[in-house]
Amino acid sequence: MAVEMSASRLLAPYFGDSLFIWANLIGLILIYLTAGYYLGGRVADHWPEPRLLYSLTLAAATIAVVPFVAKPIMSVAIEGIEQVSAGAFLGSFGVTVLLFSLPVTILGMVTPFAIRLSMKRVESAGNVSGGLYALSTIGSILGTFMPVFLLIPSIGTRDTMLLFAAVLAATSAAGRWLGAGPPLLILAALAIPQGQIKPSAGNIYEAESPYHYIEVVQQPDGSRELTLNEGWAVHSIYKPGQIMTGGYWDYFSLAPWFGSGRPPQQALVIGSAAGTVPGQLIHFDPDVHVDGVEIDPKVVEIGRRLFGMNEANLTVHVGDGRPFLMTTKNYYDLIAVDAFRQPYIPFYLATREFFQAADDHLTGD
């Protein structure tokens, strides 16, 4: 699970983190585990040697290599398939096969091997296999929660994978197989400078958050663009000293003209990102109060720091748009939805129930 969680973060800067990418990732990992379980059982029956089991855990520690080779492989893959409409799907499929097939298949071999070695009498088969499956699932639980809530936010994806690889290598060391050298070598790799997560021209800032890979690119004219994950869509744009962007954001200020024509007093922007739409609404109507809703606190921080999102009459709420709309006691005369999650708008912001909730919170025409 730790490999799977970390893998999603490795793929996101290049292919995004849509449902399709997750399906690729989970499906392929399950295929590798299936192969590993089958092979592990057969190998263990033929050579029931503890040394071989510890060799497997050491071989699985090759996941330490993955974050170092992933960047060039994914760069080539994304260039090769960018003209294909299902490019992200195919690219993530190919990269997942290349990077994870071997270590995850080997990891799959471990549990049946451990069952074979622990089994002394057939009368205890249920007890032994149940205990090892429980232990394996506890490992999966830790591998799910630790990377997501603790390790990736604090030390990043690469070092998270290195730590888990070191744990695998340490297991081999505990089995007196090759000693402490391999885990120490992997831990030493933590000292290698990270470099850019996704090298690109004009990159002035990048970060990983629990929601996205975030990148800010500065163009030669000084304008700044916020992109997330694979970077196919610009989510916010900031042109110092200039309010019009030349992009779709500019049209949101036209919304009142479809109704009374009166400027809004209370506006809600779901998916406010780094503040392009709220900034324009406030520029054209300085008396309006805007509630912005943005799911990623890191994006809000970047908006305030690099995109001039510091208007006094803008309140940014960190959260998901639909729960906010369902629970807020506020009413608005304009609701704007500018949320995008590759490849399209999140489905739950495009249902009849969502639009009914929007209607319930609208005043005027």
Binding site: S85, A233, G247, Y248, Y251, F252, A255, W257, F258, G259, G261, L334, I335, A336, V337, D338, F340, P343, Y344, I345, L349, A350, T351, R352, F355, Q356, A358, D359, L362, G364, D365
Partner: protein, 57 residues
């Protein structure tokens, strides 16, 4: 007002979302904002495109 991302030349998703909005709102307008964006505007009072255009003149 809703921004819907689209593939150039394909407004099927925006049309489907506009139809869903029409279940709730009496008037829904749709216009393209470049190759990759379609904007949908819903109003709570019934209106027509001609009336909106006339009111702005």
């Amino acid at each position: 007002m809703v921004n819907v991302g689209k593939v150039p030349g394909d407004s099927a998703l925006a049309n489907a979302i506009a139809a869903t909005m029409r279940d709730v709102f009496p008037s829904v307008y749709s216009f393209s904002a470049g190759e990759f964006n379609q904007l949908l505007v819903a109003t709570r009072s019934p209106s027509t495109a001609a009336a909106v255009a006339a009111a702005r003149r």
